[in-house]
């Protein structure tokens, strides 16, 4: 197979996004907040649309700020419903994200003429446009694909966030009360994490859409968790799975000519199913081994 620069750019961008999402997803999973991640990814939509209406473009920080604010708002709303309104948490999540997502879709439909977004793009994005959507500087020089730079920046910030606050994240994830007694603000860490999830969702939005980003947030960490419980190993495994999902997802989409983001989710799902089956087989073998051992001992 000859080297295809476009394919390389798409796979690279996909891998960058998958790794950013996966690393944050590990912490979401361990905090039992996978569905909160799902909610945030849906809830940033109105922020994206409003920022688009104000700034008039997909570029720039307006979008990231708009969506970041909505992501935080969603988190606040969920926690408000749980703590003050005293609604059970699954319903709080369900109400918050359906409400915000519905507003986003309505805004897109109402401002269909002004906003260069459509409902399909919301659902699965279009990573195939990465190589042709170029970043042209004001002096006119071509710097390469714009979305790729966004993804690089995103990954750098995610890695910086995790390594800077690794101790705090770890402690507040596994023992919130102890973290609080040690003087860490668990609330600040929580909102920091949710803020990063919102930012990552927005940054990945054009490439994979608001819903399929959930596949990258939830599935690679879940696969990793089946193989290891050690936090550092989880992060490394998730990173590898993210890269593999992007690579194989691209070629699956190429082979059957379909949405790349959808194919990435499909590949991730396949890995998850395969891991579960492999684990089952291993466990069955182990228990058989134990049975034969115990029968030997009896003899």
């Amino acid at each position: 197979m000859s080297f295809d620069p476009n394919a390389f750019l798409i796979i690279l961008t996909g891998a960058l996004i998958a790794v950013s999402c996966g690393l944050l997803g590990v912490f979401l999973m361990l905090r039992k907040m996978a569905m909160t991640g799902d909610a945030i990814s849906h809830a940033v939509l109105p922020g994206i649309v409003i920022a688009f209406l104000i700034s008039g473009s997909r570029e720039g920080f307006a979008m990231i700020i708009g969506a970041g604010l909505l992501g935080i708002l969603a988190t606040v709303l969920i926690e408000y419903l749980v703590a003050r309104v005293k609604l059970q948490s699954d319903a709080s999540i369900g109400i918050t994200f359906t409400f915000l997502f519905a507003i986003g879709i309505i805004l897109i439909t109402v401002f269909a003429n002004q906003v260069d977004l459509d409902q399909d793009c919301v659902l699965y994005g279009e990573i195939a446009y990465v190589p042709i959507d170029l970043w042209i500087t004001t002096s006119g020089s071509n710097m390469g694909p714009r979305v790729m730079y966004l993804a690089i920046l995103n990954l750098v910030l995610v890695v910086a966030f995790i390594s800077l606050f690794f101790k705090e994240l770890k402690l507040s994830t596994f023992d919130g009360q102890f973290a609080a007694t040690m003087g860490f603000s668990t609330t600040a860490i929580n909102y920091g994490l949710m803020g990063m999830v919102s930012y990552t969702t927005v940054s990945s939005f054009e490439a994979v859409g608001a819903i399929l980003v959930v596949a990258l947030l939830a599935v690679p960490p879940a696969i990793a968790y089946l193989w290891s419980k050690d936090l550092k190993k989880l992060l490394v495994l998730t990173l590898l799975i993210g890269v593999a999902v992007s690579f194989l997802g691209y070629y699956l989409a190429y082979a059957i000519n379909s949405s790349i983001a959808g194919a990435m989710a499909t590949v991730a799902g396949f890995f998850l199913a395969a891991s579960i089956v492999a684990q089952r087989v291993r466990r069955v073998k182990e228990s058989r081994g134990r049975i034969s051992l115990s029968t030997e001992q009896q003899n």
Binding site: R84, T98, F99, I103, T109, A215, P221, A261, I276
Partner: protein, 428 residues
């Protein structure tokens, strides 16, 4: 306005069908949602609704048309598969349920998107109808669709009503259901099927992305108005009906508008209103009750201050002096005094405040409760007299006339409290 009259006068048979269709599916979704909500499985509905997308697309691929029968079959198949996958993986691996739900939801949806992008390349004209399944369009439900979705919704509703008692037991006390020999597994299977069915019937009108809203939101709103399952079902159904018809109406007036988002927005507004104003648990209701109670306590304290003045031989007290008793609460004190004057408990002459007859009687009552409680604590609880004041300070606002009468009888109508202060009573 013209549209409004046209729509709600039901002269157009299409409008009648659309309203009937959306009513049936709103009812079935709200009813199924009530049980999943109480079972704390609300988000499984979200996973199912995303998971029906590949089934819908497969039905399109194989039949090449928008045939409602095959769509229902396909949607049901993948929806049921997702439900089964969630419970199996949660049970047999160390993954937590929320991770499993998020994973199943996004993977099924991703597979659905792959099928959908494949379908869009075929250029089949019927594919344009596929968009309705994403965000819903109630107006697109015509002819055979109504028959299929309507009868499925009715089937769901009746099955739920038939097994009402069994499902109730399953949710509130599963262990008991097992121990009295209910076929719990079969019942769970029937219920899961109903859950998938409710989602499947809703997808064309509400869309796969927001179907969860119709399952969760009306129920959460209803939960704030009642503690009884039957009433909750009824209220949730009403909320869902109103929102469903409102969403259908908006799609009717603006044909480009998807129905799902509007149904969800209307429902969410109903829910937020319920969270704020419900008679027992509403946030604003609770806040108002708390404020009222605090005002009551402050008025009680003012009456007590004035009674102390009387006990020390004074007649009344100036507003300035009275405010000094409650440092930092000048505004509250003034408001409470105004209210007490309006109730004729106090009289005020050039800011010199005295207890009126009614106020004197009320002040005596509060002081009496305070001192009776102090006496009760020292006599019956063996608490030292210098430790009883703080508790009595709280109880004086709470004790009811019935408890007062009991205390009086218990303590044999005492004349003084542990600190030798007289327990005041109205002369009769």
């Amino acid at each position: 306005m013209e549209d409004f009259v046209y729509f709600f006068s039901f002269q157009d048979p299409n409008v009648v069908f659309v309203v009937l269709g959306i009513s049936f599916l709103s009812i079935s979704a709200a009813m199924v949602g009530t049980f999943t909500f109480l079972d704390k499985k609300a988000l499984i509905g979200d996973a199912i609704s995303h998971a029906v997308l590949p089934g819908v697309c497969l039905a399109f691929t194989f039949t090449g048309t928008k045939n409602p029968y095959w769509i229902v079959v396909g949607a049901f198949a993948t929806g049921a598969l997702a439900t089964y996958a969630i419970s199996w993986v949660t049970e047999h691996t160390k993954l937590k349920e929320d991770t499993v739900i998020a994973a199943v939801l996004s993977v099924f949806f991703g597979v659905g998107i792959v099928f959908m992008t494949k379908l869009q390349q075929t250029g089949n004209a019927a594919i344009s109808g596929l968009d309705h399944f994403l965000f819903g369009n109630a107006i697109s439900i015509v002819g055979e669709d109504i028959l299929v979705y309507g009868s499925l919704a009715l089937l769901t509703i009746f099955t739920l009503l038939i097994f009402y008692k069994e499902f109730k037991l399953l949710i509130f006390n599963r262990d008991f259901a097992v121990s009295v020999g209910f076929p719990v597994k079969s019942l769970q299977f029937i219920f899961n099927s109903l859950m998938v069915l409710a989602v499947v019937t809703g997808i064309q009108a509400i869309g796969v992305v927001l179907m969860a809203g119709l399952l969760i939101t009306p129920v959460a709103a209803a939960r704030f108005w009642t503690d009884r399952l039957g009433a909750m079902l009824f209220i949730a159904v009403i909320f869902a009906l109103v929102s469903g018809v409102a969403g259908a109406y908006i799609s009717f007036v603006f044909p480009n508008m998807p129905t799902g988002p509007w149904v969800v927005v209307v429902l969410s507004l109903v829910a937020f209103a319920s969270f704020s104003f419900s008679h027992k648990k509403g946030l604003i209701t609770r806040w108002y009750a708390k404020r009222k109670y605090q005002e009551q306590i402050h008025s009680d304290h003012i009456l007590k201050s004035l009674y102390n003045v009387l006990e020390n031989g004074g007649k009344g007290i100036s507003l300035m002096e009275l405010k000094k008793d409650f440092p930092g609460k000048d505004a509250e004190t003034e408001r409470s005094i105004k209210r007490l004057i309006n109730k004729a408990y106090l009289s005020s002459n050039k800011d010199f405040i005295e207890l009126a007859d009614a106020g004197l009687s009320e002040a005596r009552r509060i002081i009496r409760l305070h001192r009776l409680w102090e006496l009760y604590l020292t006599e019956y609880m063996n608490i030292a007299p210098d430790h009883v004041h703080d508790t009595a300070e709280k109880m004086e606002h709470i004790l009811t006339p019935e408890i007062e009468a009991k205390l009086e009888a218990y303590l044999d109508f005492p004349s003084t409290d542990p600190h030798q202060s007289i327990i005041p009573r109205d002369e009769s």
